[in-house]
Symmetry: C2
Subunit: 320 residues, 2 copies
Amino acid sequence: MTAIEYIQQNIDSLNWQRNPRGLYEPIEYTLQAGGKRLRPALAIMASDLFDGDRQKVLPAALALEIFHNFTLLHDDVMDNASIRRGRPTVHVRWNENTAILSGDQMLIEAYKLLSQVKPDRLPEVLYLFNKMATEICEGQQYDVEFENRDDVSLDDYLMMIRLKTSVLLATSLQIGALIAGAGQTAQLALYQYGINLGLAFQLQDDLLDVYGNPQTFGKAIGGDILCAKKTYLLLTAMLKADPQQKQQLSLLLADHSISDQQKIHAVTDIYNQLSVRQACEEVVKKYTLLALAELDKIPVSEEKKLILINLAQKLLARKE
Amino acid sequence: MTAIEYIQQNIDSLNWQRNPRGLYEPIEYTLQAGGKRLRPALAIMASDLFDGDRQKVLPAALALEIFHNFTLLHDDVMDNASIRRGRPTVHVRWNENTAILSGDQMLIEAYKLLSQVKPDRLPEVLYLFNKMATEICEGQQYDVEFENRDDVSLDDYLMMIRLKTSVLLATSLQIGALIAGAGQTAQLALYQYGINLGLAFQLQDDLLDVYGNPQTFGKAIGGDILCAKKTYLLLTAMLKADPQQKQQLSLLLADHSISDQQKIHAVTDIYNQLSVRQACEEVVKKYTLLALAELDKIPVSEEKKLILINLAQKLLARKE
């Protein structure tokens, strides 16, 4: 069974038939909405590398997935997002208070699963998990603050997406390896693989938001442009632009008199003049290669690493 | 040093000077607002009973206080409360998103402290903490649901306040005793002492909300009446009332044409006709005595128990 099938099966068999229903129903709704199950699958894949017992990693893997969904639930409240995975978000389907409280309970459920980790590994696993959870909150806070700051650098942006996206992938891999009994070198290599993979993944997302195929990309094209999000593309454009282009770009992003399509088209036009796409593609490639290089440090056969190699290459090539 | 002084000193020395400030400042603000520090003090008192090392209990005690403040922070958002301990609530001073995110981080901070518990006790402490945290979320959910239900019984209400208030006091005591090496019987007796103390405490709060001295009671008198909260007093009144009084009470509570003072006066008048005050005083006394009886099961000297005996008697006699 693949790691993802194994995880999916076990998420489906979690039992949320508890009272009060108003607390647990939104949790069930959130966890049944699907999603890639990437984080728990990474924990299992990391364990598989070392022939670990999947059942030993399972509680921590499920904790990572529930934690991830908790962050989405609360982020959706904060971002006032109304759709998630094709369905109304919890605060829309129920209300904001429900989203806050059921989200809190999901975080507690994650810790409940986590405490099922065998006692000899428990303190280390808790330490890694808590560090990651803190960094994700910090990343979310930076993301919010960057909206109102005019001095966000490319490094600031990379730091923010590292916190908001990468550390969860990295920690999932490290926890899987740790529980399977991997040594410190292998654990850290997997962590760094996850960090670089996460950066490549998020930057590819930024790219697809502008250059994706509307037919295959999950969301509407141009969303980041319309909300003037300081993505890698916009920050790079601002760096490369001459004073005139810079002013043009700023005016365009703040312009409420033109249509969405006009705005997306005009901004993309400037991006094209500045070869922003190529710059971003290069950096996606750079982080993908850095991720792959980390795998060389792990003392297991190439055959076993194939799934992680393929994952990185698939991310690089993805169009949606 | 008293347990409360010991706790206060250690809360003051927690360091929140971390970045991003927007995430940690509201946490510092919340924890510096004061409060009784009752929960961590109970953990220390329980440990003192068994001559436990206070430093060993400290991380868990601080975790319990931070957890308690996390629940207040998110409850204040859900209840749209604007004042807490004489200062603007976090969502008023900053905004709702900050209250959600800094609250989430407080819950994570609680778990960080908790994982400093010595590994041999860690799984048990985590189990008790997680069970308690779940029950508190369940209690909050019932509290919200009861607002829109017309069939809330006295037992329902007692179940709700047990979850929302008692289990945190009870678990604080049990965790303190557990870490200090107390046996199962003593742990459970302290847990039950905490459950009964919490019920007595909340019911006394319900009483003071109507019959407290406005000069010494912390909040305005009659708040529960104005929001028609289904407290022990109102539920008892509804049970004791004849059909005419029942209708009178329902109409009064829903009446928006009279002044707050008129409403409070008229409802209190019906409570007096029905001797609701005496009924509630009796049940406060009952739970206080049940709490005290639990202390008899603990195999330590009466002298050592004195602080817990006094605490229960002080709660019973309190006027604010």
